[in-house]
């Protein structure tokens, strides 16, 4: 018996026959096909019970109501709440991507202590006890040396219990230096306080307006509350309401408007006054309002008629006389006209002259506190904590002037001046801020001239960040006490982004905290307890949740169930009694008087062009920023989902494009896609060129929201941060940063 060729073949045939007669090939084929249809390495989300949790999106100030779809304990989708007063079922790109900020790998998982140099990104994981003790020891030291006033806090908001607790802590500790990050709300708040009297924020009844005159507001590019504005835009289309967009660049908003009026940048106030001139001259204004409820109409009339004729205004703004006349007539002729301002998304304060002039237009047509108009909305007044019993150190600390000079003799009308705060830290021999807390803000990215901001941070010996990922500011901190992500925590969010209702929303822990993080509210209470004495006494709550429930009282149940609470008694006051100025009337020249135009009102008091940095000779171009809904440019940068939606005429690979009119490009002998070096007095950047007919010749525009250093590979290192190329321009009377652009030159790379 030999295994020769024949036998071997026979054996083989036998094996084949036997295999065919066994289930092996058929079963294998079946299993392999199942395997290939369900690759085991493809993640399959686990099945489970579907539930929805209502909350509020806190990724921008918009305040959209969200309902989070969960499978068992895992959040899987963010949707808008139907019928919510802000977004009525809608949700934006950033909001949709919120889960990536919750589950993304860049979350900070426990308290971190810096071990390398500032900005180096070398951290050591420490325990919460050690972290809080270090903070308490540092604060204790400063306080015992009578330097409590050198502690400051930068926050993205000043409303609600968390900012309230932080502010309360500073008061009990002895520092007046609570600072909110700048935005158009600063300008509106100052303008309203001077024209209406009292403290209020501007509400815009956009849904009911039938003629919208927008001075550069990126209505559908993320202005105020993005989803609400997009919904309003749909209403306008359905109702055939007119939208006029005035800005030097064809933004999405301009493209979707009925009329786009290109204007020389920075001259919006002059145009508004020009329109006022026509309205007054042709007697198209609301006589009832102007005569009965306005204090100084005649003085306003005189100066406007004298100095802002259409010919003059046409020269200043570049908008032709015919358009000025026609716009004025259309605006005054509409039944519910609304004039708004706040450049782009309104992330920078902008000129108060502009707000005052635009608001005066609303007043002229009597569309104040009326359907479709601008409302002065006072914030819901529900935080009723006992007054802080300050000890001697706290009292003396609180008497000190704020580092930023807000509320001082020089800037009595300003509440917060973060741009000046940076200057003050940099210009003193020893930093007037010795310890800094930052929450819900990223000033090292969002403020004009970031290098100067970073320099200021370098001068502050102790910086504590509450960020939940390593953003530009956290990178320059000494300690990071990571906060819960927004979907992991309770927090009341009073909605203030241009809403005409008094609404409080509640952010709820949709999922349990994923990492060793702590609520900012709890951190404050625990530090207060560690410091003891009158500071501890100012915080009689065991923890933040107890504090929040006690503060919200009978609103709590409604907040938990609906995600928001709307004041049922809220209504804007009728004109009679609506104004709390000295005259108890609307004051057209309120802002002018604050500028020193008390007796002799001059045109310069109403409109002084904001001079941007750089001389025209060395820098023949003007660089302006533009905001887009696809690029988050606030304290939170684009999550991966969002950055993937950016067009390749904005960002290609790591290169950012600047928009340039083909006419300008010809002068520079530059074409589409060419590399160039953009120089401004503040910095330079390598950019690519995108030729765009929708931008005025002589201007170049750059997107905001790029050029991050973190937190992940999807965002970091892509494009340039516009704020690196621009510096602040301070309003001499109000202290705000009113910059709108900077001069620039370009060299072909």
């Amino acid at each position: 018996m030999k295994l020769n060729r024949r036998n071997f073949l026979s054996l083989g045939v036998g094996v084949v026959a036997g295999t065919t007669l066994s289930p092996l090939p058929w079963k294998l084929m079946d299993d392999v096909s199942i395997w290939t249809q369900n690759w085991p390495w493809t993640p399959v989300p686990p099945d489970g019970e579907v539930t929805y949790e209502k909350s509020v999106c806190t990724l921008c100030p918009g305040g959209c109501g969200i309902t989070v779809r969960k499978i068992d304990d895992r959040a899987v989708k963010i949707e808008g709440i139907e019928g919510h007063p802000v977004n009525d079922g809608g949700v934006c790109l950033l909001g949709l991507s919120g889960l990536q900020l919750l589950y993304g790998p860049t979350r900070i998982k426990s308290p971190l202590k810096r071990v390398g140099e500032r900005g180096e990104g070398k951290w050591q994981t420490i325990s919460w006890n050690q972290a809080l003790t270090e903070v308490a020891v540092k604060l204790g030291e400063l306080r015992s040396n009578d330097r409590s006033h050198t502690v400051a806090c930068i926050s993205g908001s000043d409303q609600g219990t968390v900012p309230g607790l932080l502010n309360r802590f500073l008061t009990a500790y002895g520092s007046p230096n609570y600072i909110r990050t700048p935005s158009i709300h600063d300008s509106y708040e100052i303008a309203l306080s001077l024209m209406h009297g009292g403290q209020s924020s501007a509400g815009f009844d956009v849904e009911n307006a039938d003629f919208v005159l927008s001075f550069g507001s990126g209505i559908i590019d993320g202005w105020m509350s993005p989803v609400r504005m997009i919904k309003a835009n749909s209403i306008w289309k359905n109702e055939k309401s007119k939208v006029v967009q005035i800005e030097p660049r064809l933004s999405n908003t301009a493209a979707k408007s009925d009329t786009w009026v290109p204007i020389k940048p920075g001259t919006d106030a002059a145009l508004a006054l020009g329109l006022a001139h026509v309205i007054i001259k042709e007697s198209l204004y609301n006589k009832d309002f102007v005569e009965k409820y306005a204090f100084d109409f005649n003085a306003f009339k005189t100066i406007v008629l004298e100095s802002f004729g259409p010919d003059d205004v046409a020269k200043i703004t570049g908008v032709d006389k015919k358009t000025i006349l026609s716009l004025a007539k259309q605006f005054a002729g509409a039944s519910k006209p609304l004039a708004i301002c706040g450049r782009g998304q309104g992330k920078t304060p902008g000129s108060i002259d502009e707000v005052a002039a635009v608001h005066a237009l609303n007043a002229l047509v009597g569309n104040i506190n009326k359907p479709g108009g601008v409302w002065a909305v006072s914030q819901p007044d529900y935080i009723k904590w006992p007054e802080v019993q300050m000890d001697a150190v706290a009292s003396s600390g609180m008497k000190r002037e704020r580092v930023d000079g807000a509320g001082s003799e020089k800037f009595p009308n300003a509440n917060y001046l973060l741009n000046r705060w940076v200057g003050a830290v940099n210009s003193s021999k020893e930093s007037p801020v010795q310890a800094l807390f930052i929450t819900d803000a990223n000033p090292c990215y969002t403020l004009s001239d970031t290098s100067v901001v970073k320099k200021a941070f370098d001068r502050i010996p102790f910086v504590v960040s509450f960020s939940s990922n390593i953003n530009e500011t956290a990178l320059n901190a000494d300690l990071i006490l990571p906060s819960h992500a927004s979907l992991e925590r309770y927090e009341d969010v009073p909605l203030s982004a241009g809403l005409t209702k008094s609404v409080i929303a509640l952010s709820k822990p949709v999922v349990k905290p994923q990492f060793n993080t702590k609520h900012v509210g709890d951190v404050i209470i625990e530090i207060a307890k560690k410091l003891g004495g009158s500071i501890e006494e100012a915080f009689p709550w065991d923890d933040y949740e107890t504090c929040l429930k006690a503060t919200l009282g009978d609103k709590w149940d409604a907040l938990v169930e609906n995600g928001y609470w709307s004041d049922p008694d809220f209504g804007v006051p009728p004109w009679e009694g609506a104004f709390a100025t000295g005259s108890m009337k609307f004051e057209f020249l309120g802002v002018v008087r604050a500028r020193g135009g008390e007796k002799d009102v001059q045109a310069k008091h109403l409109f002084t062009p904001v001079t941007i940095e750089g001389n025209e000779k060395s820098y023949p171009l003007t660089l302006i920023p533009y905001d887009s809904l696809r690029l988050a440019n606030g304290s939170i940068g684009d999550p991966p989902f969002a950055i993937k939606t950016v067009e390749d005429t904005v960002l290609k690979h790591k290169d950012v494009f600047i928009e340039m009119n083909p006419e300008t490009a010809e002068a520079y002998d530059i074409s589409e896609g060419d590399y160039a070096v953009l120089n401004t007095p503040k910095g330079k950047a390598r950019v690519k060129i995108h030729l765009f007919d929708g931008i005025m010749p002589g201007l170049v525009a750059m997107p905001t929201g790029l050029g991050h250093t973190g937190p992940d590979e999807y965002l970091a290192g892509k494009g340039i941060n516009f704020n690196e190329l621009i510096g602040p321009v301070e309003d001499a009377d109000f202290g705000l940063d009113v910059v709108w652009g900077i001069r620039a030159n370009l060299t072909k790379a």
Partner: protein
């Protein structure tokens, strides 16, 4: 097989023809060799056949499935006696109509927060899972591949089918059988069925697409469209 023999025989005269005709002993040897090799060929064929059949029917199924023990040996019969609504007491439908499937720890804790009886399996359950709030990693015999959509509500509620039609009498079992996991697909052996040839006696012996289709054909007159289950 005969063909092979014939061929062998046919080959011999040719060989003879080519050689010297007087050398007959060689010729005889050749024929004998041919007969012998024909037998061996058959033998080898049978060996091959038998080996393949043994491999295919006996060894292959053993190799294909890995044996896994359930984390806790759950006694369905015992629990079934204590509950009022049969299977649905624990395997219930949620308010939205979706089926809860294997109970979560939260349900078990309703009774088993503390050890109640003397069963070591219960003690193990309480100590390992309840105390640490860890979900039990049950191995689900009837778990279908991810590309299959199945609605319990449509079958149990709308068509009023009994659980046993597909799941058999697991509710009466006192122990959980060994979970046999297909090493290739990762799913349970119960989907293909215990019988490696795919034969079945009872409706619950197998849970393949053909079984779904057969029942659908019988009950609804149509096997159904692809997208009904493969969405």
């Amino acid at each position: 097989m005969t063909t092979l023999d014939d061929k062998a025989k046919e080959v011999s005269p040719d060989v003879v023809g080519d050689t010297n005709q007087t050398s007959s002993p060689d010729n005889c040897n050749c024929e004998n060799k041919g007969k012998d090799s024909g037998g061996f060929i058959l033998l080898f064929f049978i060996i091959g056949l038998a080996a393949a059949l043994v491999a295919g029917w006996i060894i292959f199924p053993k190799l294909l499935y890995s044996q896994k023990k359930q984390p806790i040996d759950f006694n369905h019969a015992l629990h079934n006696e204590l509950v009022e609504e049969g299977c649905e007491s624990c395997h219930f439908f949620r308010e939205d109509g979706s089926f809860s499937g294997v109970p979560k720890l939260a349900q078990c804790i309703e009774c088993h927060e503390e050890v109640q009886g003397e069963d070591p399996e219960e003690e193990k359950f309480v100590e390992t899972y309840v105390a640490n709030e860890n979900e039990v990693p049950w191995l689900v015999y009837s778990r279908q591949p991810d590309c299959v959509f199945f609605s319990h509500a449509a079958h149990v509620k709308a068509a009023e089918m009994d659980c046993t039609v597909c799941h058999g009498h697991i509710g009466e079992s006192t122990h959980l059988k060994t979970y046999e996991e297909n090493r290739i697909s990762g799913y349970s052996r119960d989907i293909w069925g215990k019988n490696i040839a795919g034969f079945k006696k009872n409706t619950w012996d197998r849970m393949k697409m053909d079984d779904c289709a057969k029942c659908h054909q019988k009950e609804t007159g149509s096997k159904g469209a692809c997208f009904q289950c493969h969405k």
